[in-house]
């Protein structure tokens, strides 16, 4: 995370500056959360891909599909439809997460410019 202040320089920190620093910290936290969520969503997507590939290969009519904690016996076609739906939901979710991540990166860059502009060496906004 970032630290502010170093060799006793005289730049004063105003309330607006403090709020910008707080905002940067919030964005940074959300950025890390998003990275984790994106990783999870990608994994889910991959699993669903694998599942639908397996489905094409199998010649059973009834497939055991997990609902909750149990595996229900469901006809292959219905399982295919369900998996397609789940894939759509996950890809939309993934898209949304990626968009949010881009927006956050842009906002963080903006704030970095402003804060480095005022505080130069007295502030460190890089990942440690």
């Amino acid at each position: 995370m970032q630290q502010a202040g170093s060799s006793g320089s005289e730049t004063e920190v105003t309330w607006e500056d403090q709020q910008k620093i707080n905002q940067f910290s919030r964005l940074n936290n959300r950025f890390h959360e998003l990275e984790d969520e994106i990783k999870l969503a990608k994994e889910t997507n991959d699993n669903l891909e694998d599942a639908s590939n397996e489905l094409i290969l199998t010649d059973d009519d009834i497939v055991r599909f997990q609902i909750g904690e149990v595996f229900a016996h469901i006809p292959k076609d219905e399982v295919e439809t369900r998996i397609e739906q789940m894939k759509e939901v996950t890809s939309k979710n993934l898209e949304k997460l990626e968009e949010e991540k881009e927006s956050i990166v842009a906002q963080m860059d903006e704030l970095k410019k402003i804060l480095y502009g005022k505080f130069k060496d007295s502030i460190n906004l890089e990942e440690d």
Binding site: E12, V13, N22, R26, G68, E69, V70, F71, A72
Partner: protein, 191 residues
């Protein structure tokens, strides 16, 4: 130690659900003379505040993890009830494989289901019609999501206070270093 006075900003929150807000220090010199503290005592006070914030943060993070685990569970229950309801009209039984013990599965044949039993906690299980069960689970899900939102907002507020305190510590420390240097410079010029 009583809450130290610092130039307060109009319209800011002084605390949120038991978490005291960190007062923003406009000017270090003014703050130290108003509160009558020297730099070291002020630093000690802020460090202690930081520790308290950390403790609360741990607690809130634990609560957040619990809620985040609970929400998918409720969603799974809703899926199962929906599956049962879907089968109701058809007259077929639902065959399901379930885990009896780790690694051991058995097959269940679920005939037309008019009602489901929901585990309410505290060793209590109640019978509900599918519609009532869906409604109850839905309500629980919404409550859990709402609590999570409030919790996340609390955490954000807390982290802001931590950041403010860290910045204040840095500024007081720098001010102190600056003071020592100036005094040192005066002493050397006088000698």
């Amino acid at each position: 130690m009583a809450s130290t006075s610092a130039s307060a900003i109009e319209g800011t929150v002084t605390e949120r659900r038991g978490i005291p807000a960190a007062a923003f220090v406009e000017d270090v010199q003014t703050y130290l003379s108003q509160s009558g503290l020297d730099a070291n005592s002020a630093l000690a006070f802020f460090q202690e505040r930081l520790q308290q914030y950390r403790v609360v943060e741990m607690k809130l993070l634990a609560q957040q993890r619990d809620l985040q685990a609970k929400i998918p569970d409720i969603e799974k229950c809703l899926d199962v009830v929906a599956a049962l309801q879907a089968k109701k009209g058809t007259g077929e039984a639902l065959l399901a494989d379930f885990e009896v013990s780790e690694g051991i599965y058995s097959r269940a044949r679920i005939e037309d289901a008019d009602s489901v039993c929901l585990w309410l906690g505290a060793n209590v299980m109640l019978d509900y019609s599918c519609e009532e069960a869906t409604a109850l689970l839905q309500k629980n899900l919404e409550n859990a999501k709402a609590s999570l939102e409030v919790l996340v907002a609390d955490l954000q507020f807390l982290r802001d206070q931590v950041t403010i305190t860290q910045v204040t510590i840095a500024r007081v420390y720098n001010w102190d270093v600056h003071q020592r240097r100036t005094r040192q410079a005066i002493v050397t010029t006088e000698s």
